[in-house]
């Protein structure tokens, strides 16, 4: 997955990457060349007492060092540039993909998960790539180069590497492989402790009301105990890691000295070569260590890459029309013909054979218990989802053939959970109509019964709104969302349970004002409360995805059992009697 994702996104950057690899190669060779030069100083300069040679070689070493730093900086430049560009491109493709999604795909992933995927996950992959480019690429080069250089110094002594490198690899590998499952269980236990704490805080009233403090304390203590237990075990392994690695490295250098001494004694090798060999050994071992740690990081990035790829591999179910209809009578006549909506693979459909029509100047209400498919029905109209069978027509044109911009102009929706964007009251109200005047905004607020509270705010229309609208109450949010739609003035208004957070009195006033404001428009209201929809021109009763009744309140009270049941449940039997 990781490789697939990277291959797809690194394609355009082949050139900077090749430059980068070349620079890293030169940089590594330069680094490796230094000990050889040092060996020359010892063997040809020091031992022979040739001061000029020492100074000359020193000069060469300086030049090599300079070359090394220039290449290293170049590598950082191309590495940072490419890795950051990669992150930018991945983010852009995820974002574009998510934008094309329908409500179904968004719901399937969940908005928080999509956010994590576009931000955090991309960042993780990007950081791995950056580290690879700037540090890890040089590890294998260093390892191979180090071995070559060691061989150049002395072949027989290099056979030691055959023993040392695997030993180090095995030591690190053993520790890391034991650590990985522990890491996982540690993460789980951290989550458990955090969950218990989270529950304690969110359920504070209940815990205190039921006097369960001690019970909660026990639960917490167990979780804390278990977490500490695992943390100590992880720590123990970690404690082994560094000293053990150092021990392997140190013992190896002792071995090199011992066998090197024999080689020197037999005249097979010079003393400077021994010092150089020691340096190479260190460099090889360090690169083995780096590579091992790299392998530890990859699984993490792999998970992120999978989650990114999952988004990129998901196709939207709402496809833009091939030959969009750009002209519309725009009277606001809405019709559903045998519309069906079914999740792929689901046994039963959410909506089945739903046919209805809503005319301009009329209010159509939809009522039904939770799970009856009311919200789903509304989402079909602005194409947040597409009907899986049958069709949805606006002014006689199938919405799937309509130009999306035109559809958005014609149909407006206040969703169940009204969402406000960061900004001001005004910027939110103008969301659907950037050119609206302040007077228009106030008029909309008036209708939405929000004028009073907005004018009571010190900044009025310019009062700040936090992300999601969390700094206003649920009822205020609903009213602002209604006002926002009124500013846009679509031909078809869809209200999805948009009055639920309002008290009955405000609800009643709002609907009265609304009916004047939308006198010529088509209005569709979904509601739980009977009082909200009682005056509608037509009430459609949904039950388990079917239309089980259509008519006015009185007609339905007389003829429709489901409707009567709903009404009675809200007023209780004695009141209805």
């Amino acid at each position: 997955m990781l490789i697939r994702l990277l291959r797809a996104h690194l394609g355009p950057y082949t050139r900077p990457i090749s430059v980068l690899v070349l620079l890293q190669l030169i940089q590594t060779i330069a680094t490796l060349y230094l000990p050889t030069l040092n060996a020359d100083i010892i063997d040809n300069g020091v031992i022979k007492g040739d001061t000029t040679y020492i100074l000359q070689t020193g000069g060469i070493m300086l030049a090599v060092t300079l070359a090394q730093v220039v290449c290293a900086i170049g590598a950082v430049y191309f590495g940072a540039r490419t890795a950051m560009a990669l992150g930018r491109d991945m983010r852009a493709s995820v974002f574009a993909r998510v934008q094309s999604f329908s409500a179904r795909e968004v719901g399937q992933f969940g908005a928080p998960s999509l956010i994590t995927r576009s931000t955090n996950d991309v960042q993780q992959v990007q950081m791995l790539v950056l580290m690879t480019f700037t540090m890890m690429i040089s590890a294998p080069i260093m390892c191979v180069g180090g071995i070559i250089m060691a061989l150049r110094q002395d072949v027989p002594l290099s056979t030691l590497l055959v023993a040392i490198v695997p030993v180090l690899g095995i030591v690190i590998g053993l520790i890391v492989s034991r650590m990985r499952p522990l890491f996982r269980s540690m993460q789980e236990r951290i989550d458990t402790v955090n969950r218990v704490l989270r529950e304690q805080i969110t359920g504070l009233r209940v815990i205190r009301a039921f006097v369960k403090d001690t019970h909660e304390r026990r639960r917490f203590d167990t979780a804390n105990e278990q977490l500490t237990d695992t943390a100590v075990r992880v720590g123990k392994l970690m404690a082994l890691m560094f000293p053990l690695v150092m021990m392997v490295v140190n013992i190896s250098s002792v071995a090199v000295m011992w066998f090197g001494a024999h080689r020197i004694d037999s005249g097979g090798m010079q003393i400077g070569a021994l010092t150089a060999f020691l340096s190479y050994l260190m460099q090889i071992l360090m690169s083995v260590m780096m590579a091992t740690f790299m392998f530890m990081m990859v699984p993490r990035a792999e998970v992120c890459a999978e989650r990114i790829q999952e988004v990129l591999d998901t196709e939207t179910t709402v496809l833009p029309p091939l030959a969009p209809v750009r002209e519309l009578r725009r009277s606001g006549f809405l019709e559903l013909r045998d519309a069906e909506f079914r999740y792929p693979g689901a046994e039963s459909a959410v909506l089945r054979n739903v046919s209805l029509s809503a005319r301009p100047g009329e209010t159509t209400a939809i009522i039904g218990s939770t799970g009856s498919g009311k919200t789903t029905l509304l989402t079909l109209i602005p194409r947040l989802s597409d009907a899986t069978d049958g069709s949805v027509l606006v002014d006689g044109v199938d919405v799937r053939d309509l130009d999306p911009a035109l559809l958005a102009k014609t149909v407006g929706l206040v969703p169940q959970k009204p969402y406000l964007f960061t900004g001001t009251v005004a910027s939110n109200l103008r969301y659907g109509n950037p050119d609206a005047t302040d007077e228009e905004l106030w008029a909309a607020l008036e209708t939405a019964q929000a004028r009073d509270f907005v004018s009571a705010l010190p900044e009025g229309l310019d009062a700040p709104i936090a992300q999601g609208g969390t700094n206003v109450s649920g009822g205020q949010r609903q009213r602002l969302a209604i006002a926002r739609l009124l500013v846009r003035r679509p031909e078809i208004y869809l209200f999805d349970d948009s009055f639920s957070a309002l008290d009955y009195a405000t609800d009643a006033r709002l609907r009265a004002a609304l009916s004047q404001e939308t006198a010529d428009a088509t209005v569709v209201i979904v509601a739980q409360r009977v009082s909200t929809i009682r005056d509608a021109d037509r009430i459609i009763v949904l039950d388990e995805g079917h239309v089980v009744g259509t008519g006015t309140h009185h007609e339905l009270m007389d003829s429709n059992d489901t409707y009567r049941e709903i009404v009675l449940s809200q007023l209780t039997e004695e009141e209805a009697a």
Partner: protein, 661 residues
């Protein structure tokens, strides 16, 4: 991330911070976490160290072991250098024929004009005619081996001890925080965003733990190493040591210069990241709106702009901060070259042995590593201390009044609740309730009505002593509740809130929460009384179905039924009920109504009421508006008074009743 969404079902994959610390030092630096500045680093840092006080003995052992381990590992290269000298002596010794003394050989070289070689030879101990003395080399190497192994073992024991002590300290901190949560007044949690508190007790504590784990041992080891290595370097050659020392200010200057340039870039990077993430969050959360309002193009345009900005700023930040690595390496290499050249010259002049130079080179390599490490730890420590400050703030928050030492308790719990001239205010200068008097006879129902946000829950808060009255008193069967223990008081009161709370566990466990040690039969009986038995039986695992607060597979209404069952099981004499307003389907609604009515019978009940039937049947109705009680009486009394209640009734119910009649 600065704006993380709290109840995310899916955890973002953790940043690579739990990795093995030693080798990932530079990696962490590149990760570029925003450095959070602490308010008072010194004082808070001290307090963090104070967390380790109970582990004094272990910490002392850690320091001692670290000292031993570092000393030994520092001596290692010097002795290893001695082995090199022995080898070199052997090489020279072989060239000097046996029978000729060292002095003669030196003189012979001088005669040939090879002054340099003569000096070198003069500085060595050679046995003419013999090659390398393998016995001596072997002995030295065995010593080195022993030193390295012993040093390693000390290192392991030290790290394990530190690990144990630190984990214990973190565990204690967690327990302290958990206990503190139990003692904090509810107002603490109501006054600040829940996510904020949650983040303190979870993320911040995690961060402190990690910081302690990752920095403590290493800072100790690094500092000791720096001292030890410096000592050895001076011991070998002060001249070379001085050369090597130059690299310290050089590194410091480079680090400071690069750091100074990188800092604003990092700030810019995190700012743009924050902006872009916020935009992404909004566009995804408001996905439907963007579509319905046809704003995709604007949104995409803004995204492109900010994504491009992020690219530019993060490139700069990563490039500039990435320069540290090669620059440090450059300084290290220059140092290496200087030591090799100057050392070589000194050896050639006989002032230094070749083994010493070799040892010195190893030292100078060992020297730069802990320096970089300490530098990179600084960032980590900053963020750890900043986290600690937030946790300390919570630990220092004022606690609720402790219960009276000798709490009173009503002799028989009948359920008579009396409010006597009760006054209350959340804010000092905003009186909320003034002079409220009310008597709830045992078995009576008090309905609290009023528009949204009128402060209906305040009364509940006072009765449950989640908040304390600021004037007057509340009595339960004649006893001032303030003089009872909170546990005693609350044990007698059952509560069903609209904001249902279920913890992670089975349905049976959640119901049994109402009473310790309830049997399965009692749980089922309670569920039956709450009309939730049938629903539970439709679930695959019945009462053993695991649910959590997010309540997957259980609707809001069913959750409320479970909490009603919980209250049934608790058999309280007083009830606090909150009727649901919305998002419960009509059939469940009927069940909830019935269950609440059954639960109420024979008990004193305070109901935050929305249903006309509940209100009409109540013995007393309290009408609240703008946080104050404006009317009090029975349904008919209040209707006759034609005040606030009458208006409310007109607006909400009269029409509906007429319509159905």
């Amino acid at each position: 991330m600065s704006n993380s969404q709290e109840p995310t079902a899916e955890k973002p994959v953790a940043a690579p911070r739990r990795g093995p610390a030693p080798a990932l030092g530079p990696a962490r630096m590149m990760g570029g976490q925003p450095t959070e500045k602490s308010l008072n680093f010194k004082a808070s840092g001290k307090r963090v160290l104070g967390l380790l006080r109970p582990e004094r003995a272990l910490m002392a052992a850690v320091l001692a072991l670290a000292a031993v381990s570092v000393t030994l590992s520092v001596i290692g290269p010097k002795i290893l250098g001695h082995a090199t000298d022995l080898i070199l002596s052997g090489v020279f010794g072989r060239h000097v024929p046996s029978g000729v003394s060292q002095a003669q050989a030196v003189a012979a070289l001088r005669a040939k004009g090879e002054t340099k070689q003569a000096d070198l030879l003069a500085s060595m101990h050679i046995t003419p005619g013999h090659g390398i003395d393998f016995h001596a080399v072997g002995t030295v190497l065995l010593w080195v081996l022993a030193i390295y192994v012993f040093s390693g073992l000390c290192g392991i024991v030290q790290a394990r001890t530190a690990n144990r002590a630190l984990n214990r300290a973190v565990k204690r901190l967690r327990t302290d925080v958990e206990e503190k949560i139990g003692r904090l007044p509810l107002s603490y949690f109501d006054q600040q965003p829940r996510g904020e508190v949650l983040s303190r007790v979870t993320n911040d504590i995690d961060n402190i733990g990690q910081t302690l784990q990752q920095t403590f041992s290493q800072v100790v080891a690094s500092l000791l190493t720096i001292v030890g290595v410096l000592t050895m370097m001076f011991y070998i050659s002060w001249m070379l040591a001085l050369i090597a020392l130059i690299s310290i200010p050089a590194s410091a200057i480079v680090a400071a210069k690069v750091g100074k340039r990188a800092q604003p870039q990092f700030v810019a990077q995190w700012k743009t990241t924050g902006k872009l993430n916020a935009h992404i969050e909004e566009m995804y959360s408001g996905h439907a709106l963007v579509k319905v309002f046809g704003r995709q193009e604007e949104s995409a345009e803004l995204f492109r702009e900010q994504n491009e900005k992020l690219y530019a700023s993060s490139f700069k930040a990563q490039f500039i901060s990435g320069l540290i690595q090669p620059c440090m390496m450059f300084i290290g290499n220059i140092n290496y070259v200087l030591v090799a050249v100057v050392g070589g010259l000194r050896v050639a002049s006989g002032a230094l042995s070749i083994g010493d130079v070799q040892a010195f080179i190893q030292y100078s390599r060992q020297f730069s590593q802990p320096l970089t490490q300490v530098a990179s730890m600084a960032n980590l420590m900053q963020s750890g201390v900043a986290s600690a400050e937030r946790v300390f703030e919570l630990l220092d928050a004022p606690e609720q009044e402790p219960d009276p030492v000798e709490p009173l308790r009503p002799e028989i719990l009948r359920g008579e609740v009396v409010f006597e001239h009760v006054a209350f205010r959340y804010d000092v200068d905003k009186p909320l309730i003034e002079d409220l008097s009310l008597t709830a006879e045992p078995g009576h129902t008090v309905a609290i009505v009023g528009p949204t946000g009128a402060g209906k829950t305040t009364l509940v808060n006072l009765l449950m002593r989640f908040y304390e009255v600021t004037g007057g008193r509340i009595t339960l069967d004649g006893v001032d509740v303030a003089r009872m223990s909170r546990e005693e008081l609350r044990a007698g009161i059952g509560m069903v809130l609209q904001d249902t709370w279920l913890f992670g566990g089975t349905i049976a466990e959640n119901i049994a929460y109402g009473r310790e040690g309830a049997t399965r039969e009692e749980v089922v009986a309670a569920a039956r009384a709450a009309h939730v038995d049938r629903f539970v039986r439709t679930l695959p695992d019945g009462y053993d179905t695991v649910i959590d607060d997010e309540g997957t597979g259980v609707s809001a209404g069913e959750k409320q039924l479970i909490t009603i069952a919980r209250a049934f099981l608790a058999e309280p004499s007083i009830l606090v009920l909150d009727e649901a307003t919305s998002s419960v389907d009509t059939r469940t609604e009927v069940l909830i109504q019935r269950a609440m009515a059954t639960l109420r019978s024979g008990r004193t009940a305070f109901v935050i009421a929305h249903r006309l039937s509940t209100i009409r049947d109540a013995d007393t109705i309290l009408v609240m508006e703008n946080g104050a009680i404006v009317e009090q009486g029975t349904h008919s009394e209040l209707l006759a008074a034609s005040g606030a209640y009458a208006r409310l009734y007109e607006a909400q119910f009269a029409q509906a009743v007429a319509e159905v009649d």
